[in-house]
């Protein structure tokens, strides 16, 4: 079985080989038949309405690359009239009365939203196991061993990997797009902070959160990113920069490209097999004419501790609005206001969310603020400065996306710190606000995919996608379909 790309679907729709309605119905059937638990909710009627609308537009001569293409949306994005849970019990009954800017931008380009994908509760997790709506099955699981898809965008990764959707949106606060992309053999892009509006995207850590595409190819990622980005006056951290077409530089030559390999990304904790596969990928780049040099990000060991102060601190405050007063879950019985708050939040939030709220509240509390939050912010600046320094001599940085491959469900759940180490290579880009990608770079002897992590300078998404695309032109890792992928095939039908 082969993968179906957005580029191919776009061409098929353009050529009239298939209608958006047919495509949408096909994917809805696959979702219905799948057992990956990749979706929390699917509004078939809404999806088909949008598909019919897209078909009508195409019939009217309108054309746009993704007009009528169905996409899965992470359940962190509010979509008017749909259940939006963020993976939490506390929002189980929440129907969003408005649409996130990123989604409405996509809808404006004619994208059809298929449904809302499963995720770690409030995007806090690296395995999708903190979701209130159950674990998600990684389509690369072999018989007998159920592997996690990674997280927090685990449902989106599983959906695309299992071909329940040709692409999906994710969000990345510390690696939540890139780590599941690596675990599920996908291309995942975390854009520069501020590229995608955060309006309508439920906040985890405001200074780090960023939406991005999860696709099979860099070309698809560029196409989808084109429909997501743009300045939004409703988000004060949104970048007021002119729109770009991220597909235009895909085919630029990378001869003479200077690739830096931060030695800190190849140290202790990295599985040797992964190190070997990354070296092989780097060699491939060398054969494409790139120059490789070892560099250093001397403060990168401070990224994880700094992140685990800043992200929980912001989260502890961002999640205060879930109090049972105006919407969402409220405990059944309570004696007074404090009792109502306590029970609502104790019952409505899962353990990982509570753990991070407590860490964050502690880090911000009087007497500890300077020792934790203030200090973490200083470290954050040091980490960003490291990148500024190395980008004086490199065009992009490369390394592994994760220190290990997809693990089995339950294996890390009693050890939060082991779980947090999943993001050790991805977090620095979030702290520095830089664009970064994880692309398919081969398989371990156990047959599990690994991700090559690429970090580009601020706002250089086009360069990032160009570098990723050039690799995909000479490799076929990204074309390999997961064993658990849906048996149906849209391509054949078309």
């Amino acid at each position: 079985m082969t993968i179906i790309t957005l580029a191919q679907l776009s061409a098929d729709l353009d050529a009239g080989k298939v209608s958006s309605t047919e495509l949408t119905q096909e994917y809805l059937q696959r979702i219905d038949a799948s057992e990956h638990n990749a979706f929390i909710s699917v509004d078939q009627e809404l999806a088909l309405t949008r598909a019919k609308d897209a078909d009508a537009k195409r019939a009217n001569g309108e054309s746009s690359p993704l007009l009528g293409v169905p996409i899965a949306q992470k359940d962190i994005f509010c979509i008017d009239g749909t259940q939006t849970t963020c993976g939490s019990k506390i929002l189980e009954n929440f129907i969003a009365p408005y649409t996130a800017t990123v989604v409405s931008n996509m809808h404006d380009h004619g994208v059809v939203s298929l449904g809302k994908t499963n995720m770690d509760e409030f995007a806090m997790g690296s395995s999708n196991e903190t979701s209130h709506y159950g674990n998600v099955v990684n389509p690369w699981s072999s018989k007998g061993a159920t592997l996690v898809p990674g997280g927090s965008s685990g449902g989106s990764a599983a959906a695309v990997s299992a071909q329940l959707a040709p692409a999906a949106t994710g969000t990345d606060t510390g690696g939540s797009i890139r780590q599941p992309a690596a675990f599920c053999n996908l291309t995942g892009i975390k854009p520069s902070y501020g590229r995608c509006s955060r309006y309508g995207m439920i906040a985890f850590a405001s200074s780090l959160d960023q939406a991005g595409p999860m696709t099979h190819t860099a070309e698809d990622a560029a196409m989808l990113l084109n429909t997501m980005v743009g300045f939004d006056s409703k988000d004060s951290t949104s970048l007021d920069v002119p729109a770009e077409d991220y597909t235009t530089q895909l085919n630029d030559s990378i001869e003479g490209l200077n690739i830096g390999l931060p030695k800190e990304f190849f140290g202790e904790g990295l599985k040797p097999e992964i190190a070997t596969l990354i070296e092989r990928a780097v060699k491939e780049y060398e054969s494409l004419g790139a120059n490789i040099k070892e560099v250093s990000l001397p403060n990168s060991h401070l990224a994880l501790p700094s992140y685990y102060v800043i992200a929980p601190a912001e989260a502890s405050s961002n999640l205060s609005r879930f109090d049972g007063v105006r919407y969402g879950y409220r405990t059944e019985e309570y004696t007074d206001l404090v009792d109502m708050y306590t029970k609502t939040r104790s019952e409505g939030f899962g353990d990982e969310v509570k753990r991070r709220i407590m860490i964050g509240a502690y880090a911000l509390s009087s007497g500890y603020y300077d020792a934790y939050y203030s200090k973490a912010q200083k470290l954050r600046r040091l980490i960003a400065n490291d990148f500024n320094d190395v980008f004086k001599e490199c065009d992009v940085l490369m390394g592994p996306t994760t220190p290990s491959t997809a693990f089995s469900a339950g294996s890390n759940s009693d050890d939060p710190v082991a779980m947090y180490l999943n993001d050790i290579y991805t977090i620095p880009a979030n702290l520095a606000g830089l664009p970064a990608a994880s692309i398919q770079a081969g398989f371990t002897s156990a047959g599990l995919p690994i991700g090559l992590h690429i970090i580009a300078p601020y706002l250089q998404e086009s360069k990032l996608l160009n570098v990723a695309h050039q690799y995909q032109k000479v490799t076929d890792w990204h074309t390999l379909s997961a064993p658990g992928a849906s048996a149906h095939n849209v391509g054949e039908k078309a």
């Binding site: 994005f77 509010c78 939006t84 963020c86 929002l91 929440f94 969003a96 009365p97 408005y98 996130a100 955060r198 309006y199 309508g200 995207m201 439920i202 906040a203 850590a205 405001s206 200074s207 006056s233 409703k234 988000d235 004060s236 951290t237 601190a313 912001e314 502890s316 405050s317 999640l319 205060s320 609005r321 879930f322 109090d323 007063v325 105006r326 919407y327 206001l337 708050y341 509240a361 911000l364 509390s365 009087s366 603020y369 939050y373």
Partner: protein, 481 residues
């Protein structure tokens, strides 16, 4: 007059929440008009739906800067919003967006008049923040209703230095501030509607002691009178405690105007840890020089400068200048009248402070709602100046103007109030009075000068107030001597 044992020195600082006169909320586009049906002015942002974000209303920054310039304060051209975290049902996000370390307005000062002359009160800072909603405890059968119309209303919290040394100084400062925010049109100053709210920090210490005593914070003192009375009560309470050898507890106290007492609301131990940190949803606000200079150019003449000008250029007494510049509308009414009338400035001041203010007070009206326009008021004073009206008939015309019976000259005509200055007409009445009052005439001739008043009165009565009293007086004297 409130007094206390002068061995104790009182130290007062005020925190004033001034609602900024913007069209919309500080971080959303919702209206802030007062009195709308509950929750009809609460958008997705105001009710803190998942995923919504704040966007700064530039107008609120403009008004805050205007205030800073008016008190000669340092403007922090880079200022930062911070989250103040606490749970309360009328606080939708579970935090209030405020400013902590870098407020928009830094150190400034305001001059007040005290018994001992002018005194400068330091203003530590003024920062922007959003208001919370309201909890409604009635009509919900034991439950609490939440109205979020007010949530997100822009406030400027103005924090004074602990520079005031008596309740009257505190009130003088508060009045001055109240006058200023209205002058520069950043706040309507409506205390009933909560547009201008005050908390007071009060402590006492033995006179001569450097170190400050333990303070209490008084809340719910939303009128000038309550501020004064609450502080008075608190001073007595604290002195009583200290004189009995006790210790004042640092706490927040609520003033009860009905019982005239303050009572404990929460102690320092119960105080929230607000876990302030810079709001990651709002980048630091950076104010360009040009933005500040544009605002400076819109500043009106400030009360202090206006008062000085009224004294030096218009020759008003300090007391009159004070009253007539305390409110911008009053000052403008006064100046418009002065420019339109031939009457002396002093007469204009007397009529405003006297007749006009008395009637406004009686009807509980602001001067902007005065039924008498400056043009008619000026004309009325002209008719006194040109001897058409006496002081007494002028009051009749004033009353008719107040009742909107018409314009000045038409009222004089209709009521026949034109003062009699015709010598012949007055002489006839004078002769009648002399003939009718032989006893008083004799008394006058015997040297009792005071009786002339009675006789003039008789002339005025017979002329129904229209005779020119000075002429009548002179004529009576001439005829009786």
């Amino acid at each position: 007059m409130f007094t206390w044992d002068q061995r104790w020195e009182v130290v007062i600082g005020l925190e004033v929440h001034s609602q900024l006169q913007t069209q919309s909320k500080i971080f959303s586009g919702s209206s802030i008009a007062y009195g709308a049906e509950p929750n009809t002015q609460a958008s997705a942002v105001d009710i803190a739906l998942p995923g919504v974000l704040p966007v700064m209303n530039q107008e609120a920054a403009r008004l805050a800067v205007k205030f800073g310039l008016a008190i000669g304060a340092h403007i922090n051209q880079r200022n930062v919003f911070a989250r103040k975290n606490y749970f309360y049902p009328d606080l939708p996000k579970g935090y209030q967006i405020s400013q902590m370390e870098l407020p928009i307005v830094g150190l400034g000062e305001l001059e007040i008049d005290t018994e001992d002359g002018a005194k400068k009160i330091g203003i530590t800072r003024a920062h922007l923040e959003e208001d919370a909603g309201k909890s409604l405890h009635e009509d919900f059968q034991g439950q609490t209703g939440i109205d979020l119309n007010r949530a997100g209303t822009p406030l400027l919290e103005i924090v004074s230095e602990p520079d005031m040394r008596s309740p009257s100084e505190a009130v003088a400062y508060l009045r001055k501030l109240h006058s200023l925010v209205r002058y520069i049109e950043i706040c309507d100053g409506n205390m009933q509607e909560g547009s201008f709210r005050c908390d007071a920090n009060v402590s006492v210490r033995p006179r001569g002691q450097e170190e400050l005593g333990t303070r209490t914070e008084l809340k719910n003192i939303n009128s000038f009178r309550f501020v004064e009375r609450a502080i008075e009560f608190e001073i007595e309470r604290q002195i009583d405690i200290l004189e009995d050898g006790g210790k004042v507890v640092q706490e927040t106290r609520l003033y009860d105007p009905d019982k005239h007492e303050t009572r404990s609301m929460r102690s320092k131990e119960d105080a929230h840890d607000y876990r302030y940190f810079p709001d990651p949803d709002l980048p630091p606000m950076v104010l360009e020089d040009s933005f500040i200079e544009e605002i400076r150019a819109t500043l009106p003449e400030l009360p202090g400068a206006k008062k000085a000008r009224f004294e030096s250029e218009l020759g008003l007494s300090t007391a009159d200048a004070d009253v007539l510049t305390a409110d911008r509308d009053v000052a403008e009414f006064f100046e418009s009248t002065v420019n339109a009338t031939k009457a002396e400035t002093k007469i204009v001041a007397n009529w405003m402070v006297g007749e006009l203010f008395a009637n406004l007070n009686k009807s509980d009206l602001e001067i902007a709602a005065s039924p008498i326009s400056t043009a008619q008021f000026a004309l009325l004073l002209d008719r006194i100046a040109d001897n058409t009206l006496s002081g007494k008939t002028a009051k009749q015309v004033f009353a008719a103007l107040w009742e909107k019976e018409g314009e000045v000259d038409a009222i004089i005509e209709a009521k026949g109030l034109k003062q009699i200055t015709d010598t012949g007409a007055i002489e006839t009445i004078v002769d009648e009075v002399i003939a009718a009052c032989p006893e008083q005439v004799q008394q006058f001739k015997d040297g009792n000068d005071k009786v002339i008043g009675f006789l003039v009165g008789q002339v005025m009565q017979k002329s129904r107030g229209k005779a020119n009293p000075q002429m009548a007086n002179q004529m009576l004297k001439d005829k009786m001597s």
